[in-house]
């Protein structure tokens, strides 16, 4: 299929990109890797008449460590995130989530910013970023602001971005000591396939107890879903199979899945239970702890 004729803009600066975004408003779409945007055009899900290619905007690509903060430019490809030694060392669950996306061809085009901004419910990197306490830096025509990643997502395919605002980078703080995180997803095949359900978890240990638990579910609600009740149950408890089973059950109850061609709501709920348990187990192992 081909897409309708469009206006093409290739701003050379962030300010210019924001100004164009503001000028065209909802009639503009920012183009990064295009792996979501171009198919959305083809199935008439995207109708913006102006494409603003961010390709040439400087300073939005790359992964760096700066005063303890891991900074991932929004235009960094998923392949680069997956392969980055820094990401693998500091937030391995995010590297796992990146590696789970699409095919090599998709990962070398798709960007982490695009994975956030298209805000597809089954996107893989947001849950992993959210449990890592990631923040997003947005720049608009009137200045910059930072949000917790979890607050960036406002609905299925909807974000907190205002007109003319660009997601510039994802900032991940130093992970607390004795922490481990895991990203568990289920798909119908091992080869490239969208997640049917996913669970990200980060557990921080204090001695033989869980000091903090962060959990985010993917593909089972319009936005990545944190599960406060499960986190509260885990907090202060000793890791055990029974505890993880109970916390997994709370995750399953919290999920708001739909039925579609990839799986029924009931099945997705069941998957959340299983994936949550597996995520807790891997997180504890990565934190250097053990499960009773």
């Amino acid at each position: 299929m081909t897409i309708a004729s469009i206006g093409w803009h290739r701003p050379a600066s962030l300010a210019e990109a924001c100004a164009l975004g503001l000028r065209y408003g909802s009639d503009a779409a920012f183009l990064a890797g295009g792996t979501e945007l171009i198919p959305d055009y083809q199935r008439a899900r995207e109708t913006a008449q102006h494409l603003i290619a961010l390709e040439s905007v400087p300073g939005m690509r790359g992964i760096s460590q700066d005063q303890g903060l891991l900074r991932i430019g929004a235009l960094t490809t998923i392949a680069a995130v997956a392969a980055s030694p820094l990401v693998r060392e500091l937030v391995p669950a995010l590297a796992d989530a990146a590696r789970a996306i699409g095919s090599p061809q998709i990962r070398s085009m798709a960007t982490i910013g695009g994975n956030f901004c298209r805000a597809v419910p089954c996107a893989d990197t947001p849950p992993a970023a959210i449990v890592s306490a990631a923040r997003v830096r947005l720049v608009g025509t009137t200045g910059a602001r930072e949000l917790d990643a979890v607050d960036f997502f406002t609905g299925a395919r909807a974000t907190a971005l205002a007109a003319g605002e660009v997601l510039v980078e994802i900032v991940i703080p130093v992970q607390p000591p004795h922490s481990g995180a895991s990203y568990q997803r289920f798909a119908r095949r091992r080869g490239p396939a969208l997640a049917v359900a996913a669970v990200a978890a980060r557990l921080t240990l204090d001695g033989d107890r869980v000091a903090e638990a962060r959990i985010a579910l993917g593909a089972v609600s319009p936005t990545p879903l944190t599960v406060a009740r499960a986190s509260a149950l885990l907090k202060g408890a000793k890791p055990s199979a029974a505890l993880f089973e109970a916390a997994g059950e709370l995750c399953a109850q919290a999920a708001l899945p739909i039925s579609d061609v990839r799986g029924s709501a009931d099945y997705r709920r069941e998957l959340v239970r299983v994936l949550a348990r597996r995520a807790f187990q891997e997180a504890v192992a990565r934190a250097g702890g053990s499960v009773q």
């Binding site: 299929m1 095919s103 090599p104 080869g191």
Partner: protein, 964 residues
Amino acid sequence: MSGELMIRLNVNGEDRALAVRPNATLLAVLRDDLGLTGAKRGCGAGDCGACTVQVEGEPVASCLMLAAAADGKTVTTVEGLARGGDLHPLQKAFVKHGALQCGYCTSGALMSAKALLDRDPDPSRDDIKAALSGNLCRCGTYGRMVSAVEGWREHDGVPLDALPRAHGERDQERDHAVVGRGVTRYDGPDKVTGRAKYTADLRLPGMLYGKMFGSPIAHGRITRLDVSRARALPGVVDVLTAADVPAVWYGVSPAREDEQLLASDRVRYVGDEIAAVAAVDEETALRAIELIEVELEELPAVFDPEAAMAPGAPVIHPEKPRYAGNVNTRVDWHFGDVEKGFADADHIREQRFVGNRTYQAPMEPHAALARWENHADRLTIWTSTQTPHYVHRSLSRMLGMPMGNIRVIRPPVGGGFGAKAEATPLDYCSAIFAKRTGRPVMMEYSREEMFKHFRGRHKQYIDLKIGVKRDGTITAVEQRVVLDGGAYTSYGVITAYYAGSMLPTLYRMPNYRYEGTRVYTNLPASGAFRGHGVPQPRFAFESLLDMIAEDIGLDPIDIRLRNATLPNTRTCNALDISSCEFTATLLRARDTSKWPEKKGKLPRGKGIGVGCGGFVSGAGYPIYRSDFPHSNAVIRVHEDGTGVSLHIAAAEIGQGSDTVLVQMAAEELGVPYEWVWLADCDTTTSPLDLGSYSSRVTLMAGHAVQRAAAKVRAQVLAIAAGELSRDAASLVARGGRIFVRDEPAVEMEWAAAARLAFGRHGPLVGTGSYQPPKDLGGDFKGGAVGTSPAYSFSTVIAEVTVDLETGQVSVDRVTDFSDAGTVINPVTFHGQVEGSIVMGLGETLLEDTLFDSKGSAMNPNLHDYLIPTMQETPEIHTAAVESFEPNGPFGAKEVGEGSLVPVLGAIANAIYDACGVRVTELPASPEKILRGLAARAPADGVAAPPGETLPGLAGHTAAGGVPA
């Protein structure tokens, strides 16, 4: 800013400056502006990988990259791999390992592999599988691709020749020079370089692009159709509606001509064609389609075949009273005495099984390019088809033109599996447009349109009952099958017969009753899919046989051995089986898989299962009544005797038929394989062949080739006899030399003898034909379906792991032994079997086309309709057993379809062995497995005893409910 942009690309080392529109994809610019058609459009959505190129060294889906976004970058396409006349070692490795079949995915797979090797020249097998996981190959050639990438260095600096890679690679010992050897695939070099031009790769000056417009609803009457806005769009050259095309009822099956090219009144499924547009480019044609206005009176629709037969159901073909109750075909067969057979049984078991509506999903979308020949009232059409002859005949009937005025050319075909076995609306409409506009017209289906056109597997509802003696001997079999036919017949009459006719070929069954009912529904038409009607009944049979074996305490292989068909058998339904090494396939598979050490002894979650199958080696009768031989060949020797041209219209669709036909020609002539040129498949130069369906090519076209070659050889030997002063009967032609059998020193060059023959008698030509025996089959209605000169047999043993928490099944290892008669080429043989295993895995575990409550397709794309990737592919062991088919050329018979048939049952039986869940509905989705596991676990946590079957696995129907 919506005008054209100037961009600069470095493509394959050359700097190019191009004006592009901002919405043009890199793929479109490479193919249309630069003529680099190696990168293919398989899905247009980044799902299939056929369009993979390297941008700045990284593999990308060029269908998702805007050309404008590639400005200033370096692009490498498959055309940039070879250096000068020498192929890249990776390309040679692909050819030598047989790592390509239809070739449509090959360019993309090569570019993914190249990007990997640029980064890591010695990748692990796991790295290779990950790197190529985004390159779908429906031929299932994954294992060979892994080996090729792994072994690429072996081909560095080594010329590509025709000799087998592994020295003398053969499965069977035969005294042949060319037959039986894994020679280099005839179409290999063209397919690894991007030189092979598939239909959609062709470009003609002034060419228009056409698109179809289909019904938005599943059942209705057209009350208003207005194409004036579409016609008025600048760039639109012509629009067709029913008024502009012949009002002919057509269909590939003469028994049921129930289709019309464009609907004038009634539409019967979502996508039923209503109009077509031809415009200066594809984008304009698509925009014009959106301007077509149609109003429909919606009629009640039915999507379930059993509901469609009920009183009061909507009538889908009211104009044809013979289809009352929406019954399209009914079969009622009774052989022997089933009542007596069941009375004689010690144990009887019956079970309902439900299949799935799987789609062939060839990687190449259907395409046709038509040109009206202005110097006469004649048509040339290039079309992606498995059956050039049926397209030829259908066009002749639709257009009211003699076949002599129509020239059908079949370019390379990127897979078919039955999806391309009849003329499509693209063939008809492109031809009509070409005549009306005077310009060449290209038409292509999108991936979504392919799913809507369908002609895939009939979903079958199978009630099967088997009776056995205490020792496992089958006494009676009763099978009732309801087939979901969709809105039209396609090949479905034959499907309904095949679903019953092939069961008695594997096991002796003295008493057999079959009732088949093919029913119209408001879904896309079902047709002929690899194994044509047989895989689902065979899945049911192999499953029920295992259930019975467990009931009576027999090993599943032992119950099969007890009943296995023996050579030279006439089945209860009057099919004559000549060669049959079925027992050998069971025994060899049992040994190689180490079955006795595994069956019943694996830990919970791991399982092993057996399934068997087979197929015809060519249908005994053609689709329509005709006296023509089914296959015909002409062989012509070049005047100096150093080259040979083979003219045959058989259809290479990836199965390797070009290669095996060339091998048979070379063998029979007594010349090297490299001497033979295969002429393009073109009805003006190649005589009639019925095409690639019913696994007929090796046997039938092979016979025609062998006979044509024998005539040429006789002429050459007659000349040589004179020159050598010996009797022609004492001479042997082999490898380009002619010598006396008992005095090899007395010899001459084959070419010299051929040169003399040409000099004396003019063109040295031989013709050959093949007609199956006239009297095949029983004298009962439908007795023709299932007849064949020969039958294949195979056994598959599958080993699986079931994730007991998610229900996910992975297939770890598959062992296959096939009786395919003489194997003409072991590389293409193994490629076909391996591909069948991969495809069968998909049909068993992953695939089903799904529809919402209004009959709209829910997954008409390759990210929701998931087919196996390299990462699903198990470890596969395949081998041929010793066999010789007296009715086949050189003793050969089929393997391409029969090898799919056993896979479904083998995997289902392995799942049962692993976790006690009996799969009765396909696909065996993890959700169904999990529900089965839950139903088996009573509250006290003690697992239910094995042998329990779970009818409750149903409940998620495709049309209406929640898909599983």
